[in-house]
């Protein structure tokens, strides 16, 4: 299979403008006759469904949640990037493009990333027009902050709830289209199969989660905006319901899964505290603007902290190792996520960890509180304020910036982060890999599109902070509404697709058998227990550091676990009723297959790049060692239960020189 990226000709900066102005259009009278299915209502799905509805298409939108507003985009904290250069600090579309390509360790597609950087500016305009209450300065203009891997301030934010505010903006735009009758909304419907007719995506089988009935939905094309697969690790910052099922069912129908081993481990999460734990909580990367990461220099200090004999406050300044500032002076605490995560792991592996499990480092705000306190005292005209006053004022500034995050930290850990340094550790957060798409965001299955985290295209081997929101909204508001026309302009003579077509009957029957099979196992172990075990295998062998030996072993372990699952899982209840355990069982079954594919992909890639760190391939200083000669490709996998087939899309870099990524 030849993978055509369909990147248009021309100079990088002109490709999108020119392409957009010359691509095929669908006339308004024809749009009214065309049906589009959008699965998922996060940033990408809601923005796409709303915009396609505005354009006049008949849209059907689906979410497994009880409301489109629950999608996990809502939990994004820190912000959204845009090349507005409002700070006059040297930002530009090119710089955002370059930072993203470099941050992704040169494993993403140039043209897609440049388009993303171009669209970023329109996103902020659009969101403000919708009433998204971004943070502002006293002059009434928009405020910015910095994120990892960049040296400008281009991140727009709404306290620590940026995702929530952006999603509500998209949800409201979607709600407006629902009220106008342009979008039909299906809550509590989970896509369980993709229906293809003559090779084209023409519909889905969805399960009505309220009554368990399988329903058929037909359309001229299908758009998947179903998020990432981080929950394959069981413990992650993803919501409990986040899953790969819709995307994976498409893979089982022939769509290719690209770079599944590219997963992002976020450096600043609240550490694991016990076996009962169900999920991990992120502390926004924005905290690294002001927080300093450190561990005790002396192992005996670290041990005393672990035993509870000392706290971070007892360690003298000279006995602290601000290891990010030491190792990466140019970027300091704001190195990209993959670099920061690995550095934390190295310190903890050396015995400098500071939580009872040994798996935590400090994120300390004392210096920022003092700095802000002095600055606030100065602006209030207070001369010679005492230390307590400075602290009080400083804490207030920090509360304004990060209040809800500090509050969340305290609720979960029971410790006050204004007084004690936070304890953090890396956790699974995002997946760069996803369905393979071309420049039009169309998968290799004609008429099947993938947006947002569900596709692979923009973040390479590592995503920069505040870029997920940008990509989700760029894809939904500003890319798919155009590029979908390339496919649909050829479909204007296609009459409405009938759900009575035999392809729907076959797919529905297949889905029913699968679900019945899960119920019929009637074994002795819970779905949850299998998911936990799967997550542990993937985390141990395909997490922050990987080796050929470990991966080979892990593949075998996942296979065996899958066999055991199908022999011994217990799913209570029936198919034809509200049954959350059955939903979970189907998702875990898909994670088992995906997990194996991640391992296979990680084994194939004999290099270290971004979030994919193979122990065999590192520099003497322990940094990732890329192999551009052999691995500058997108690994797109065709699923086959015995031996998935690798298809390669060679990446071409015409504008950026491939360099060793350095943040020193």
């Amino acid at each position: 299979m030849e993978l055509k990226s369909n990147v248009p000709e021309g100079a990088l900066a002109e490709k999108w403008t020119k392409y957009r102005s010359t691509m095929n259009l669908v006339a308004p009278n024809n749009k009214r006759r065309i049906d589009i299915i959008v699965v998922g209502t996060g940033l990408a799905g809601a923005s796409a469904a709303a915009t396609l509805g505005e354009l006049g298409y008949n849209v059907k939108a689906f979410t497994f949640h009880d409301s489109p507003r629950r999608a996990h985009s809502i939990a994004a904290q820190g912000g959204i990037n845009a090349a507005k250069n409002y700070q006059n600090d040297g930002d530009s579309v090119y710089r955002l493009f370059y930072d993203t390509i470099k941050g992704g360790d040169y494993r993403s597609r140039e043209a897609n990333v440049h388009r993303l950087a171009e669209a970023s500016r329109n996103i902020i305009d659009q969101c403000v027009a919708q009433g998204v209450p971004f943070a502002r300065e006293y002059g009434g203009l928009l405020a910015n902050r910095s994120f990892g891997g960049v040296q400008v301030s281009r991140t727009f934010y709404a306290r620590g709830q940026t995702g929530q505010q952006l999603l509500l903006g998209a949800y409201q735009a979607l709600s407006r289209q629902i009220s106008l009758g342009n979008v039909e909304m299906y809550n509590r419907h989970e896509m369980l199969d993709l229906v293809k007719i003559d090779g084209k995506a023409r519909g889905i089988i969805a399960r009505n989660l309220l009554n368990g009935k399988l329903e058929r939905f037909a359309a001229h094309c299908v758009v998947l905006a179903t998020g990432g697969y981080g929950n394959v690790f069981y413990l992650s910052t993803n919501a409990m319901g986040s899953n790969v099922t819709a995307a994976w069912r498409a893979v089982r129908r022939g769509a290719l899964m690209a770079n599944p081993c590219f997963t992002q481990i976020h450096p600043t999460c609240i550490p694991v505290s016990g076996d009962y734990q169900s999920k991990l909580t992120l502390m926004s990367e924005s905290l690294r603007n002001d927080g300093r990461v450190w561990v005790p220099k002396k192992k005996e200090d670290a041990e005393a902290i672990r035993n509870g004999q000392k706290t971070g406050l007892d360690i003298a300044e000279d006995d602290r190792d601000y290891y990010l500032e030491r190792r990466y002076p140019a970027f300091g605490n704001l190195v990209p996520r993959d670099v920061a995560s690995r550095a934390a792991k190295i310190e903890c592996d050396k015995g400098h960890g500071v939580s009872p499990t040994g798996l935590a480092v400090f994120l300390d705000f004392a210096a920022a509180i003092e700095r802000y306190g002095k600055s606030r005292a100065h602006s209030l005209g207070l001369h010679n304020p005492n230390a307590a006053k400075i602290r009080e004022l400083g804490e207030k500034v920090v509360e304004e910036k990060y209040g809800n995050l500090f509050q969340m930290y305290e609720k979960i850990t029971g410790e006050n982060p204004y007084k004690m340094p936070m304890k953090i550790y890396p956790a699974v957060h995002y997946t760069m890999g996803g369905l393979w798409v071309d420049y039009n965001l169309e998968t290799n299955v004609p008429g099947l599109f993938a947006l947002g985290e569900a596709n692979f295209s923009d973040h390479g081997a590592n995503r920069l902070g505040a870029s997920a929101l940008m990509q989700g909204l760029a894809d939904g508001y500003f890319v798919i509404p155009y590029t979908i026309g390339q496919f649909l302009s050829k479909e204007i003579r296609t009459p409405s697709i009938s759900p009575d077509h035999e392809a729907f009957a076959t797919a529905e029957e297949h889905t029913r058998e699968q679900l019945q099979k899960l119920i019929n196992v009637k074994g002795n172990q819970s779905v949850e227990s299998f998911h936990r075990r799967l997550g542990k295998i993937i985390w141990d062998y395909c997490g922050m550091s990987r080796s050929a030996e470990g991966l080979t072993k892990a593949r075998q372990m996942v296979r065996e676990l899958r066999e055991e699952f199908w022999k011994d899982v217990f799913v209570p209840g029936d198919m034809d009723e509200f049954n959350p355990e059955l939903e979970k069982a189907a998702r875990v079954a898909d994670f088992m297959e995906l997990g194996e594919l991640m391992i296979i992909d990680a084994l194939d890639r004999n290099e270290s790049c971004g979030g994919h760190f193979r122990e065999e391939y590192q520099t003497p200083e322990g940094e990732a060692l890329r192999n551009d000669k052999d691995y500058t490709y997108v690994a797109a996998w065709e699923w086959d239960d015995n031996d998935p087939v690798l298809h390669k899309e060679e990446l071409q870099f015409d504008n950026v020189e491939l360099k060793t990524r350095s943040y020193k």
Binding site: S67, V128, G274, Y276, S278
Partner: protein
């Protein structure tokens, strides 16, 4: 710690529900939902039907989780969703009563799960700015005073969980509806259609079967995001202003 749970079990809206009593071994670092996970794992181990309850992000922002714990929506901690409530808020040997949201406009699905789609329909009635993609001017074209933006933000932090309805003796949705009205009415972008919006949203709220507001204030007290009751006053002003100045009959 040993906990006795009295949990509301109801197969569906047609059948009759009742409290069932369970014993759970928990520890203080668990979140309340993780304690419920432990209960469900033990029920599954006995091949019994686990308790259906809704949850998703488990970090207090998606608004999915909803339980009335000892008579309080989201339990005893102020400004906290169930998923962020930890067992350290309880004592060894405690008996905890867990019930669903109870309101006519939130029909029960199963056990602790209710249908809150009425909230979606209130937003669909007018909780948006009528702007199509691509029509926006530059984001900095209209400066907005920092404090105004901040007030709008405070109203916009509503997570749509429905605790305000569950807390209200009249099952009124005034706090939810007013939070959106207030968020948009305070911003220049939302001001333009604010009259039409407030009427449409209030009418939809009434049609859904939510009760009247009688200024009890339980909604504000139980709101996990501490949305202020002042939003209701603002909505009332907006509503009466729109009726007085309006040419349409309401």
């Amino acid at each position: 710690m040993k906990i006795t749970l009295k949990v509301w079990r109801q197969k569906n809206i047609q059948s009759k529900g009742q409290f069932e009593t369970y014993q759970v071994e928990a520890n203080e670092h668990m979140s309340f939902l993780e304690m419920m996970d432990v209960l469900n794992e033990s029920l599954i181990a006995e091949k019994k039907d686990p308790v259906s309850f809704e949850h998703d992000c488990r970090e207090g922002i998606c608004g999915t989780c909803n339980m009335v714990i000892n008579g309080q929506p989201h339990g005893p901690m102020k400004g906290t969703t169930v998923c962020q409530l930890h067992m350290r808020s309880f004592k060894d040997g405690d008996t905890i009563v867990v019930e669903p949201w109870r309101a006519k406009a939130f029909p029960l699905v199963k056990d602790l799960v209710v249908d809150r789609s009425a909230f979606d329909r209130i937003i669909q009635a007018g909780g948006y700015v009528s702007v199509n993609t691509g029509q926006a001017q530059d984001a900095n074209a209209i400066p907005i005073e920092k404090d105004t933006a901040s007030d709008a933000f405070d109203a916009a932090t509503c997570i749509g969980c429905g605790a305000c309805v569950a807390a209200c003796p009249n099952a009124s949705a005034m706090l939810f509806t007013s939070a959106k009205v207030s968020h948009l009415a305070q911003l220049p972008q939302g001001k333009v259609e604010s009259k039409k919006r407030v009427q449409a949203m209030v009418n939809q709220m009434d049609d859904e079967g939510f009760g009247m507001c009688s200024n009890v204030g339980a909604c504000e007290a139980e709101c996990p995001k501490e949305i202020s009751i002042e939003n209701i006053a603002l909505m009332n002003r907006e509503y009466f202003g729109s009726v007085v100045g309006s040419e349409t009959s309401v």
